[in-house]
């Protein structure tokens, strides 16, 4: 891993930025998320949260178990406003309730 390695692909947050946030006093994923936006993009942290937890563990000498994941916020996947508003056609609604939209 180098300074420039991208940890959060949605928001382009690098390994170096996360390490600096920890050096500046952040001790939780929740705090790093608010400072750097990692985990706030389309995937809502599915890729990066574990990686960030590992970096915190390494840097602070704590075990992974002690590092709490950030609050998981709905919706669990991005959903179109029209579907949420009930304005989309039936086909769309079915695919949404089936767990996958385009």
């Amino acid at each position: 891993m180098t300074e420039e390695t991208i940890i959060c692909r949605c928001e382009d947050v690098t390994y170096g930025q996360i390490v600096r946030a920890i050096e500046d006093g952040c001790t939780t994923v929740e705090e790093i998320k608010r400072m750097l936006r990692c985990g706030m993009g389309a995937c809502q942290g599915r890729t990066c949260v574990r990686l960030i937890s590992q970096i915190i563990a390494e840097r602070t000498g704590r075990s992974m178990h002690e590092i709490m994941p950030p609050t998981s916020r709905p919706p669990s996947m991005p959903i179109e406003l029209a579907i949420l508003a009930g304005e989309a056609d039936d086909k769309r609604n079915v695919s949404a309730s089936g767990g996958g939209t385009t």
């Binding site: 928001e11 939780t28 929740e30 705090e31 608010r34 400072m35 936006r37 706030m40 993009g41 389309a42 809502q44 609050t71 916020r73 709905p74 919706p75 991005p78 959903i79 179109e80 406003l81 029209a82 949420l84 508003a85 009930g86 304005e87």
Partner: protein, 380 residues
């Protein structure tokens, strides 16, 4: 952690951190900030980030105007990029009653020197392209209103305060406020107690239980307010749009997402800050009636925070009569972030015995015993 302090500020939001900085800047030593979780973890970090000067009361308007002046120089003063930008606020009128009220508001605001004016629906669409103006009679527009990043503003104050010697203790809840007679004597936390003659209650929605620890009742009702944000899309407007008729506000964030909130009139008072499916549905319907072009844009996240609402939607500021050394900075009723820079400057002046350049007597807790309440009507 210190055993003694000249002041303990409870709450690491924008008000608590801002006040710590302003006190230290004025030479007040040994200030400690106690935060239950992490900085801006309460109402500050959950708010929409808007900075508005268009209010119906003179008190809110003056505090907001002075705060904007301070926001303009904050990055330079604190050495931090807080993403402050003046993208404007557009407030839509749908009824004759609203138009009449906005006329009074604008006359008062212009009298205080605010750059605000009426626009027709065509100009409103130029300011906010794709806005559905069906039923809009007119709107008020202030191009100098704007927004900033609440996490960054809080962090900026906190780091500047620490450089001046303030101690900020995270993950340190206050479990007890100690009094001797009717004077503040100290606070108790799981990490030990701190003796102090001065406690500042800057705990947002939790100001009520905190005040109770010192035997003080505050007329504040905590109420959940929900917000959601979409995926980023190409920037197409800078202004915040408000419709009191729909109970809605929305703007496009710097990184492209549309952030939006809705004040549910049926929301029951309480400390619940869970997200609701009902909000997701209602908000989506409301935003699509105002901005139909967004129908294929995806919502990525929703969250909620507490408004600490007072009967007049104005904050409670200053030393209370009941307990000596107990200072309130709460009751912001959903707009504490935007008022913070001037509020914390005034409170620091008050605590250090310096002249106030804006009177705050009318924001004292005692006003609620005096009958007549002039409520700010411009609240979402």
């Amino acid at each position: 952690m210190k055993k003694q302090a000249s002041a303990v500020i409870i709450g690491g939001g924008v008000s608590g951190c801002g006040l710590a900085y302003c006190l230290a800047k004025r030479g007040f030593r040994d200030v400690v900030v106690l935060e239950r979780d992490y900085l801006a973890s309460g109402a500050t970090g959950r708010c929409g980030g808007g900075i508005r000067q268009q209010w119906s009361t003179e008190e809110n308007t003056r505090l907001a105007m002075e705060s904007v002046r301070l926001f303009q120089q904050l990055d330079e003063e604190l050495g931090y990029e807080t993403e402050f930008a003046q993208g404007g606020y557009l407030i839509l009128a749908y009824t004759e009653g609203e138009v009449e009220q906005y006329r009074k508001n604008v006359a008062m605001q212009q009298g205080l020197g605010l750059n605000v004016r009426f626009v027709d629906s065509m100009e409103a669409r130029e300011i906010a392209p794709h806005l559905n103006t069906d039923g809009v009679l007119c709107a008020t527009y202030c191009p100098d209103d704007g927004s900033a990043n609440p996490f960054f503003v809080t962090q900026a104050y906190a780091e500047a305060a620490k450089r001046l010697g303030v101690e900020i203790e995270l993950y340190t809840p206050v479990t007890e406020i100690l009094t001797r007679g009717n004077r503040i004597a100290g606070v108790v936390t799981p990490r030990g107690r701190i003796e102090t003659p001065l406690v500042v209650n800057a705990a947002g929605g939790d100001s009520v239980p905190l005040a109770k620890m010192a035997g003080l009742d505050l007329p504040i009702v905590p109420t959940r307010h929900e917000i959601m944000v979409t995926e980023p899309i190409d920037p197409f407007f800078t202004t915040m749009v408000i419709s009191f008729q729909h109970g809605v506000y929305f703007r496009q964030e710097r990184h492209g997402g549309i952030i939006m909130g809705y004040g549910d009139p049926d929301e029951k008072p309480g400390y619940d800050i869970e997200s609701s499916l009902n909000f997701l549905r209602t908000m989506s319907r409301k935003i699509l009636s105002l901005m139909p072009a967004l129908h294929q844009v995806k919502v990525v996240r929703q969250w909620a925070g507490l408004y600490d609402s007072t009967p007049d939607a104005l904050p409670i500021l200053g030393q209370v009569d009941q307990v000596e050394g107990f200072i309130q900075v709460n009751g912001f009723s959903g707009h504490g972030f935007m008022l913070a820079p001037k509020v914390v400057d005034l409170l620091a002046r008050l605590i250090t015995g310096q002249d106030l350049d804006l009177p705050i007597e009318r924001l004292h807790l005692n006003r609620f015993q005096e009958g007549e309440i002039d409520r700010d009507l411009s609240v979402v």
